[in-house]
């Protein structure tokens, strides 16, 4: 099979046109909408953030210290029924400690399976898409599905880090549809330019005007050529034209909300071009937070070393020169065993997640804050282990997305694989879709080994 990574926005044009017709007001002035929400109590936008860390999450590392996991057999999780406990009465594991102050908004979910993904070092697009993906995108992923449901100027923003500092855009985890991968931008400086460049440069106004003229010129020029081409090639050039049209469209909108952007843009620091992975990830979180707060997007994906072959990231910034692949294989460093190293790195990600939550909490929206209308989901593209089999897929969920999710301080452990009350990651994603206002029965592929279970629709345990 071959993948074409360059067609991910093939439908951008029609997509943008579609969303413009459907939600023009929301796109025109995201800030207006927020202000309106503040003054009138009108519904605020729903936001979805995915923090995805490569190389798997060992369920033990996100298990509250005081709740014993029932383990047995190949699939490990052997709970005989749904375990639903209040988190307040339990102590968070070390990796999760940074989220302590959000404990009352936090839900740890254990025991969802995702066997259709196949497992391995990474499930690539399958992790968010619920299908087997060696390297290519075989279908829509949940972030993109949500992006269609909660349109914004940038339907989905994908930021992250890869195993190599020179990588800019990689295609590893998200897709609009089969063979339509959506990018993860691994270079904070380029991400910044894309989102905030219009207000950031020294001669900002001039650059912005010149860029607008250039986009106009290009749209005109490409159209001129398109008209003369045979039909097949017109289609091919169409995506190039679509790219310019959509940029032009966005450009004029960015023009309208310049004041907001100026106020909300993150401060450009050395971290944007740092060789150190933690710096770049840190910058990614900053930019992502600003994109949410600036109203540029409602769906944010932060992917840290996800996807094959990008997963062997090192975290020098945490004093761990060992790559995550070696850690996954049980290597130690300076007498620190692998699980301590993995926990340290995981903890760093939860620190980032807490930082992001705090920033959102600081922004008033409607009668509450932005955090109230957001849900942040932490998971790994590698499911439950370094060489995962996807028997279970730990998730850490922060926020209730405007009261649509029942995530106020809970520990949920779904019963063992095959048990009548067992559920899959697809059910969880369907729950997110329901929170976004989209009711669907299935997402991705269904697990043929679970065909006797009632696996349609969202999780009533979680959906408000």
């Amino acid at each position: 099979m071959t993948t074409n990574p360059n067609t991910s926005f093939l439908t951008r044009r029609s997509f943008l046109h579609g969303t413009t017709l459907g939600a023009g007001a929301a796109l025109l002035a995201p800030m207006l909408q927020r202000l309106e929400a503040e003054s009138t109590g009108a519904p605020a936008p729903r936001r979805f953030v995915f923090v995805i860390e490569g190389n798997g999450v060992n369920p033990e590392q996100v298990q509250p210290k005081t709740i014993t996991r029932k383990r047995d057999g190949q699939s490990q999780n052997s709970a005989d029924g749904l375990v639903d406990l209040p988190l307040a009465e339990h102590e968070l594991p070390r990796a999760l400690e940074p989220l302590a102050e959000f404990k009352d908004r936090l839900t740890i979910i254990q025991g969802l399976s995702g066997r259709v993904c196949g497992g391995g070092h990474s499930n690539n697009f399958g992790a968010l898409g619920c299908y087997s993906s060696k390297k290519n995108a075989a279908g829509e992923t949940i972030d993109c599905a949500l992006a269609k449901a909660v349109p914004s100027l940038f339907p989905r923003v994908g930021l992250g880090i890869s195993d190599r500092a020179e990588h800019s855009i990689i295609y590893n985890i998200s897709a609009w549809g089969p063979e339509k991968a959506a990018p993860i931008q691994c270079r904070p400086d380029l991400a910044y330019n894309e989102l905030f460049g219009s207000v950031a440069q020294g001669a900002g106004r001039e650059d912005f005007a010149a860029r607008g003229n250039l986009l106009d010129f290009m749209v005109d020029d490409v159209k001129r050529l398109e008209r003369t081409l045979p039909a097949a090639e017109r289609e091919r050039l169409g995506s190039y034209l679509g790219a310019f049209e959509s940029m032009k469209d966005r450009h004029s909108r960015l023009n309208e909300i310049q004041n907001t952007l100026r106020a909300k843009a993150p401060v450009v620091t050395d971290k944007f071009r740092s060789e150190v992975e933690t710096d770049r990830l840190d910058a990614g979180f900053d930019i992502g937070a600003a994109a949410l707060i600036g109203g540029l997007t409602n769906v944010l994906v932060l992917a840290s070393g996800c996807g094959d072959p990008f997963f062997s990231v090192r975290f020098h910034g945490l004093g761990i020169p060992l790559d995550k692949h070696s850690i996954g294989h049980g290597k130690e460093h300076n007498g620190r065993p692998w699980d301590e190293l993995a926990t340290t790195i995981r903890r760093f990600h939860f620190e980032q997640m807490a930082r992001l939550a705090k920033k959102l909490q600081a922004v008033p929206e409607g009668r509450g804050t932005m955090l109230d209308n957001t849900v942040i989901v932490y998971l790994s593209d590698g499911a439950e282990g370094h060489h995962s089999r996807c028997w279970e897929w730990p998730m850490v969920v922060l926020g209730n997305c405007g009261g649509r999710l029942k995530t106020a301080g809970r520990f949920l452990n779904f019963p063992r694989y095959g048990h009548a009350a067992h559920r899959t990651t697809a059910n969880f994603y369907l729950t997110l879709l329901a929170a976004a206002g989209v009711r669907r029965d299935t997402f991705g592929l269904s697990d043929p080994n679970l065909k006797d279970l009632k696996l349609k629709g969202p999780l009533p345990e979680l959906l408000a």
Binding site: N6, S8, N136, D207, L214, A231, R236, L237, M247
Partner: protein, 740 residues
């Protein structure tokens, strides 16, 4: 639509376009109805041969009732949709349905499949690698192939420049001083050809990168400073461009025109037309007003780098169409096509000068002259040729296969790939029996770049070790020599680096590329061999066969049985449902069990000793880890379903398998088909049969000269001619205007 005007071999392309939208994300069309739309279609086009009286290909369609609830019905309908999709049915000579009518059937089927909870997967599009073998080999190489269809030609097209071509632009005069530029394009991923003309569009993130690169390149071409208020251009900046930055002397229209001309020559290697000059000057003037002189002018110069002509190779054809509607590539198109066939750079000076002076006429003769000239010119780097072999054999992906260091500290995929590259070039230099040599040579390069140096280092270290051991025998009693670094020669079954390269590998162990460690690793798993993908490769690349993709619903897992050999574990694929496809792969891949998953020759296979492992416990009964034993190797395989009776039969090991393959005319023809695809940037159709047959003859009659094959392909009608597929364009005025 007037179907009769269309070349039948190209029909599927048109058809794909028609059905693409409804099957994609576009708005759903009104769904056709079985009784009203589908049944009449079947009656009109299908049931004559696949009905009550006759069931060609054991296929009967007259009893279909539109229900997709049974597996059998879905299988039948999937076959129908595939044949329609590929335009393979109804057969030649029968009235063809319009693409619209076929499209309705496929639309209806997609909707019904979805309703039944299944997905109707389109076959690999004819535009993409992997779809090529769909065209019948027998028909392509039949005596009268191509008769009655329009003579060979390629659809007029735009071909996005490859990542390598763009890389050359960044490294060349234009981009060498630019900072912060980055590769915007990706190639096709995975195994196989990476650059097909139909594979790429330019999406928004890519356009964003192109835009930023253009900004950076223009900034580097127009660097300046002011010293005491006096404008100073930076070194190595073209005067016509940088002078436009001087705010002490705002540019005149004449200067702006000169700047645009310079930029066109730089980027597009041609003068702008008068219309383009006027448009760009107006653009610059507007920009200067809106954004100031420096930023405004730079933005306009950047636009030249973004013109579709700079992003896409244009191959639309020019001049009067011949009797079959074909037009030869325009001179500038042909010059670029020839250059990009062999190199990643724009036309060399000889070609460009001839073009600029109007002395290059597009013709078969001029193409042949230039191909021969470039092939003979050793000073001209021709990376596209080696790349073909890399992508055909796929050995270069060895570097992407993760291997655990602790299992073999001597494994270095990068070096293995370099060695195979070198072997390919070595065989190409002789240019005799190229394919057979590639498949059967017992020679190899072994860490050829550094072998001499490594050998010396190793000898010195060994001497030092021996000397120390002699001085202190007691201390060294239990020590063995363990050198630093990776001993790559071990992958080849040698005990040291060879003195002469290429070297003959140990007798009876290796035969050509398929037994090079690089290839074996490329088609291996992290911890095991991969007989399935090896067999698939042989089936597709040498036998021209088809293996369907793994059904998406199949959870393909080998049993976790460490006490079994891989061949035994693969027995799970012998279940009837699996074996339909696996019979095409496993018997061709299993002979390669002669090697381990690092590509090392072996005479037995290590498996876990179940009983010894069970007994290997400490005093408390806790396991002390697995115990292994050697199991006998079984390297037998079967050549079957090859359509070449002369090679069908059992083989004892990979060497016997390869010998048979190397002697097969069909294998040679399939190789030629792949070369065609790579150099045409598309898959062959039946209309290309004469071109393929001529290329095969050129190769065979020249005793296997790859150069002869290349000359034949690059002077063929398929390479030289373009036809408009689908709705003809009104004119090519703009592109014509793009040329002086």
């Amino acid at each position: 639509m007037k179907q009769s005007l269309k070349p039948s071999g190209l029909f599927p392309l048109t058809f794909l376009l028609v059905v693409a939208t409804p099957l994609g994300l576009g708005a759903a069309a009104v769904n056709p109805d079985f009784e009203k739309d589908i049944r009449p279609f079947l009656a009109q086009h299908c049931t004559k041969c696949h009905g009550e009286k006759k069931q060609a290909g054991k296929l009967a369609l007259h009893q279909l009732d539109g229900s997709l609830s049974s597996e059998k019905a879905r299988e039948t309908w999937a076959r129908v949709s595939e044949k329609l999709w590929l335009g393979e049915m109804p057969p030649e000579g029968e009235p063809r349905p319009s693409p619209h009518a076929s499209g309705r059937v496929v639309n209806w089927l997609s909707a019904e499949f979805a309703r039944a909870g299944h997905k109707l997967t389109p076959p690999p599009a004819l535009e993409l690698p992997g779809g090529g073998n769909r065209v019948s080999h027998e028909e392509l190489f039949a005596a009268k192939a191509g008769a009655g269809v329009r003579p060979p030609a390629t659809a007029a097209r735009l071909w996005r420049v490859s990542p390598q071509i763009y890389e050359e632009l960044l490294r060349g005069e234009l981009g060498k001083n630019a900072r912060g530029v980055t590769q915007p394009f990706a190639a096709l991923t995975g195994e196989g050809f990476k650059d097909f003309a139909g594979a790429f569009t330019v999406d928004e993130p890519t356009t964003g990168l192109l835009l930023r690169n253009a900004d950076a390149i223009v900034a580097s071409l127009t660097r300046f400073s002011y010293e005491d208020g006096k404008f100073k251009a930076a070194g190595n900046t073209p005067r016509e461009l940088v002078s436009l930055m001087d705010t002490n002397a705002p540019p005149t229209d004449v200067q702006l025109r000169a700047g645009i001309e310079r930029q066109f020559k730089f980027v597009l290697r041609r003068e702008p037309t008068e219309a383009e000059r006027t448009r760009f000057v107006a653009f610059m003037r507007k920009n200067i007003t809106d954004a100031g002189q420096v930023t405004g002018v730079r933005a306009a110069l950047a636009a030249v780098l973004l013109l579709p002509e700079a992003i896409y190779r244009s191959e639309l054809g020019a001049g009067e169409p011949d009797a079959h509607g074909r037009r030869m590539l325009a001179p500038h198109e042909l010059v670029a096509a020839l250059s990009f066939a062999l190199t990643d750079r724009p036309p060399d000076r000889t070609l460009q000068t001839a073009l600029d002076k109007g002395q290059f006429a597009a013709s078969r003769e001029s193409a042949e002259r230039e191909v021969r000239r470039m092939l003979a010119d050793d000073s001209l780097a021709k990376p596209r040729i080696l790349r073909f072999f890399r992508e055909f054999f796929g050995y270069q992906i060895a570097t992407e296969v993760f291997k655990d260091d602790k299992d073999n500290k001597d494994h270095e995929a990068r070096v293995l790939v370099e060695d195979t590259d070198r072997l390919v070039l070595h065989i190409l230099a002789t240019d005799k029996d190229v394919l057979r040599e590639l498949l059967t040579t017992s020679k190899s390069f072994v860490s050829y770049k550094t072998a001499a140096e490594q050998k010396k280092k190793r000898a010195e270290a060994l001497a030092k070790f021996e000397a120390e051991k002699a001085q202190n025998p007691e201390k060294f009693k239990n020590k063995t020599f363990s050198p630093q670094g990776r001993e790559v020669f071990r992958s080849y079954g040698l005990d040291d680096y060879p003195d002469q390269q290429p070297v003959n590998l140990p007798a009876g162990q290796r035969a050509g590329i398929l037994t090079q460690p690089s290839w074996l690793v490329a088609f291996s798993m992290n911890f095991d061999n991969h007989p399935i993908t090896r067999g698939k490769w042989v089936r597709e690349r040498l036998l021209g066969g088809i293996v369907p993709d793994l059904p998406i619903t199949v959870d393909a897992q080998l049993p976790n049985a460490p006490e079994q050999t891989l061949r035994q574990r693969l027995d799970v694929t012998k279940a009837e449902y699996c074996w339909q496809c696996h019979q095409r792969m496993n018997p061709l891949g299993l002979p390669f069990e002669l090697f381990d998953h690092f590509g090392r020759f072996r005479s037995s296979e290590r498996v876990q000793d179940k009983e010894a492992t069970a007994a290997n416990v400490d005093s408390k009964g806790k396991s002390r880890g697995p115990v292994f034993k050697e199991a006998p190797l079984d390297t037998r395989g079967v050549l079957a379903l090859t359509s070449d009776a002369r090679i069908d039969g059992e083989v004892a090991d990979p060497l016997a398998l390869i010998q048979k393959l190397a002697g097969s005319a069909r294998v040679r023809q399939v190789f030629v088909r792949h070369a065609f695809r790579y150099w045409m940037g598309r898959n062959e159709t039946l209309a290309d049969a004469p071109v393929l047959q001529a290329a095969d003859r050129a190769y065979a009659e020249s005793d296997g000269s790859f150069k002869a094959l290349l000359v034949s392909l690059l002077t063929s009608d398929s390479f030289l001619y373009r036809v408009n597929i689908g709705k003809p364009s009104a004119s090519n005025e703009v592109l014509k205007n793009h040329r002086p």
